[in-house]
Every structure is written in C-alpha cells, then in structure tokens.
C-alpha cells in the first residue's frame, strides 16, 4: 500500500524515537493528523523550544534554560553536597524521590574502554575543580550498579582521596542490572537513605 508522503515522513521520524515501534509511530502520526491545528502548533513549538532554548548548566551539566540550572541557582538546596550521576535522566529520577536536597553533577557517561570512553571524555576534572573551589563537603556517587558504574565510582573515589571531602555511595538497594532511570522512585529513595560511606 502507498502512503501519502508527508504521513510516511512523519511515521519515519517518529519511529526513530526510543521505544516507539512502527505501529506506535503510525498511530501517533494519525493521531496528530486528526488533531486541531492549535494542538499541533503547540507540539511543534514545544519541540522547537526544547532544542533552541535548552542547554547544559555550566556548573553541573544538567539541562537548563539559563546559564546555570534551577537547582544550582536555588537557595533552598544544600550547596555543600553533590550527587554524581551518569546522565540527565538520573537527575530527573532522583528529583522524583524528593529524598535529596543537594546539588548534582552529570558526568555524561561512565568509564568504558570498549566504547573508547576514558576519564578525560567525562566531566570528572570539572567535578574536582568544583569541589576545590566551592567548599563542597560531601560527594554522593549514584552511578548504576554495574561493572562500568562501579569502576567509575572507584576511580572517582581514588581521585578525590587527597581532597578534603566526604565520599559515599548509594547502597545497592537497586535491582542488579537495573538502570537507575528505570527503578521506581521508592527504590531509589531507599537507596539514598542507606548510602554507605567510602
């Protein structure tokens, strides 16, 4: 069957999104086609602004509209504690638990020699500078509990040994092999409470 080209294009683009298969993409495209122009414009705008207005926070590398993100600017947060995570999605997962009131540091990945990711391609140097310059008292490592995440935690712990900072790691309350992003809020919350000092 031949599908009108604009529809086909929309389906192709939508199916590039994670966890969207051909069928879902088709359903979404047809839904958008049937929607009011107003709604469609709103969606287009939102997507456009997502890309044009959002950048990475210059301090913690979380996503942000301003040069510094809302968390880094907030006076209500504890500015002496940093939670180190792999990706922006982990910040969102932890924020959803309401168990953490400090700041974040997004590494942008973990050590992974097979994928050619070494320490200098991660925001580790920036983390060390931050600790030295901003009087950080505590660092909580919240990387995924797999081989790469654990090794990265070990590496950071070694690097920070000579810096006057308390280091702890969220306890392995998370399901083994499960990503932080996919664990439910309660599990991540428990892991925060039971963090272990290194």
């Amino acid at each position: 069957m031949l599908i009108a080209e604009p529809l086909q294009k929309a389906i192709d683009e939508l199916s590039k999104l994670p966890s969207v298969g051909r069928k879902t993409a088709q359903r979404l495209a047809l839904h958008i086609l049937k929607s009011d122009s107003e709604n469609v414009d709103a969606l287009i705008n939102a997507l456009g602004e997502l890309k044009s207005k959002i950048r990475f926070c210059s301090v913690c590398f979380n996503i942000s509209v301003e040069e510094k993100c809302e968390i880094c600017r907030s006076q209500k947060r504890d500015h002496s504690v940093i939670c180190v995570v792999e990706e922006v999605s982990d910040v969102i997962a932890i924020e959803n638990t309401n168990e953490f009131n400090g700041l974040y540091h997004v590494l942008g990945g973990v050590l992974n020699p097979l994928a050619n990711v070494s320490a200098d391609s991660l925001k580790i140097k920036e983390l060390v500078d931050r600790i030295d310059q901003h009087g950080i008292k505590e660092v909580i490592l919240a990387l995924n509990p797999d081989a790469e995440g654990d090794t990265t935690s070990l590496y950071i712990t070694r690097i920070l040994k000579e810096h006057a900072v308390k280091i702890s790691r969220i306890a392995r309350g998370l399901p083994i092999g499960g990503d932080l992003e996919f664990a439910d809020a309660a599990t991540i919350g428990r892991a925060f409470i039971g963090r272990i000092s290194l």
Partner: protein
C-alpha cells in the same frame, strides 16, 4: 515441575509436531537423523532459551523456512505457557512467558530447571578447563541468580580491562594507569566473590557426586572434585592473594595487553580413589563420572531450588553395559519427569517401563505414540 505438552513448528525435521508427555518417563525412539534429538533440543530451548549443543539457531530452522517456533505448557503449582520464536531473517530470538515478552535470558534461567546428559558431556571430563568451568558455572548459575549476575559482571570487567590493557600497550599513555587501577579493583571485587562461591560450591557438590557415583557403579570407587584456582587460597584471604598475584603479573599483563590472573583461568580436577581421572581413568570411568556429574547436578538443583528439574538423556543408554543401564533405570525412578532418546529398544527391558510412561516413535520428523 512437569512439561505437559510441546508444539514445534518448522523446527528441524518437525514441520508441525504436537506432543503430550507423561510426567514420568518419556522414551523417544527412532533411527539416526529422524528427529528424536530435536525434541530434546526443543525442550532445552524452552527451559533455557539456549541451544542444547551450542549450535546456531538458524541451523535449526526447517530447510526453506525463515522461522521456527516452540511452544510448551509447564505445570508446577500453576500453569505456565512458554514460547520461543526465532526469526532467521533478523537472526533474533523472542521468548514469551504467559504471552508476555521476556527481554533478558537471565530472567528465564532457573525458572524451568533442566539437566541434560548428552554425548558431548565427554568434554567435561576429557576436554579443556573451559569445559569444566562451563559445567560448574551452569550448575551454580541455575541454583543462584546472584552467581549468574556475578559471572556476567566479572566477564564484562574482564573485557573492559583487556581493552584498556591493549590501549595502554599501544599508546603507552601513563594517564590511563590510574583508570587501570580502578578496573583492577573491580576485577578483584567480583573475582573474589566468584572464587569464594566456587570453593563453597565444590565442597557441597562433592557430597552429591559421591552419592550419585556410588549409585551407578558396583565397585567401591570414591570420586572427588578439586578446585584449582590461585595459589594458597583458603577462602578467607582471597582478595589479598588475588591482589598479590595481579601485582606479580602486572608487567606481563601490560606487555601482552591481556588479563592473565583470575577465576577465568580456574580448573576443576576430577579424581577417582585419589587418581586423576583425566590421566589415569578408563573409558568406563569417564562415562560413569559424566553420568554421576549430571545426576549430582539434578539433586543439587532440586535441593537448592525446591523444584524438580526436567531430565534429558540423549542416546546414552545404548552404550551402557547391562549393570549400569539397570542401575540408571532404578535411579530414573527417583527422578520426576525424564526424556530419553534411544535408537532401538535393546536396553528397554532394564528400564522398568510402566503404564505411566510414554513411548514416542519418531520417523522423518513424524511422531507416533506407541503405547
């Protein structure tokens, strides 16, 4: 646990085969190449998502077709429907449990425990150390998900570490040393846990092997498994010794760019009456040892999981003498559900066939019930 029925589509010679099984002994009889072993293969797939003989999935697709499907109905306290579908164009396996797709095969391992005694088992006693590690790891993994996750973790760390070692070898970049130290620490953490669990496993498993062995032979022979790992380890000092050994081999590792120390190099040595089986054992002793290992696995898993595994035996019966064939039949009575292939019924009299059992004849992929 019992497999009530199975349905095969486009699986080797089986275009469309549907079978109901007995919860006791199922004898599958047929000449070579008629499709009797593929029934065991299909059962194994359903329980583990893996191939019994480690052959490629695409070879199991009926000639001229592009997919195969195996469906089965398990019965324990509840009924579970399992289905494995393989698409040879995408070269992808899909596993469904009660119509729900399962994405990690580790979620299936141990759910439907299975033990198989097959021809290629000779490699366990006669082959390379990797064969014995595979045997031990498969038994211990079936009994413990944590052990399986540890193995996966360790092998990932090994791959990452060897990649880093070869990067250091090529670039001679000193900055990477600090990262190597972190990978070494990770290797020690998961490797130590594996070694300690293997020590404990061998201790426990030896009891089961002795029991099984004495049930199969008439002679007074004492089997024993010895775990061979890093030197001078007693289960308390593993991490420490592991670190010492890694330090001793550090230059070698850097020069060659590979992992040289750790449980991925372990071996398990088999003995009969204190004599090393691999060096001094007769063919008969090898066979008996292989059989004892599988029966030991069966009772070990049963005890650990509280679930009775399914037992598969492929073409082993024909080559046994009457005494051992009789002994094994007695043993099979203690086991729950078993599937046994035979080329003919020569040894059938030793098998205690009762009305509870099912006799299936297989010819060119077509099956008939014979009793």
């Amino acid at each position: 646990m019992v497999l009530k029925q199975i349905e095969l589509q486009n699986f080797r010679l089986h275009k469309n085969t549907s079978l109901d099984f007995s919860d006791k002994l199922n004898l599958i009889v047929g000449g070579n190449g008629q499709g009797k072993t593929s029934i065991l293969e299909a059962i194994y797939y359903l329980c583990t998502t893996k191939n019994l003989n480690m052959s490629a999935e695409e070879d199991a697709v009926t000639f001229g077709e592009s997919n195969f499907s195996i469906g089965g109905l398990f019965n324990e306290l509840t009924e579970n429907k399992a289905r494995l579908y393989y698409d040879s164009i995408k070269n992808k396996k899909y596993f469904f449990l009660d119509e729900k797709q399962i994405n990690r095969s580790t979620e299936v391992i141990g759910k439907f425990p299975i033990v198989s005694l097959i021809q290629s088992d000779h490699a366990i006693t006669q082959g390379a150390p990797s064969e014995r590690r595979r045997f031990v790891d498969s038994v211990a993994s079936q009994a413990s998900r944590t052990y399986l996750e540890l193995l996966l973790d360790y092998s990932k760390t090994l791959r990452q570490r060897s990649s880093l070692l070869s990067q250091i070898k090529e670039t001679r970049n000193n900055v990477l040393f600090e990262q190597l130290d972190a990978w070494t620490e990770s290797l020690i953490t998961s490797g130590t846990e594996i070694i300690n669990r293997r020590i404990k496993f061998v201790q426990e498993f030896n009891v089961y092997v002795k029991e099984a062995y004495s049930s199969v032979v008439e002679l007074i022979e004492k089997p024993h498994i010895e775990y061979q790992t890093l030197a001078e380890i007693d289960g308390e000092n593993t991490a420490e010794k592991f670190r010492e050994e890694l330090n001793a081999f550090r230059d070698d590792e850097l020069r060659r760019g590979i992992n040289l120390v750790g449980p991925h190099r372990d071996d398990f040595i088999f003995y009969i009456n204190g004599m090393e089986l691999k060096r001094f054992g007769s063919q008969g002793q090898h066979k008996t040892f292989q059989i004892a290992l599988r029966f030991a696995q069966f009772f070990f898993i049963k005890e650990k999981l509280g679930k009775t595994p399914i037992f598969l035996m492929d073409d082993v019966f024909g080559e046994l003498d009457t005494y051992r064939a009789g002994k094994i039949s007695e043993y099979l009575l203690q086991i729950g559900q078993a599937f046994i292939t035979m080329t003919d019924l020569t040894n059938k009299d030793g098998l205690n066939i009762t009305s509870d059992n099912t006799l299936i004849k297989v010819e060119n992929g077509k099956t008939t019930f014979a009793n």
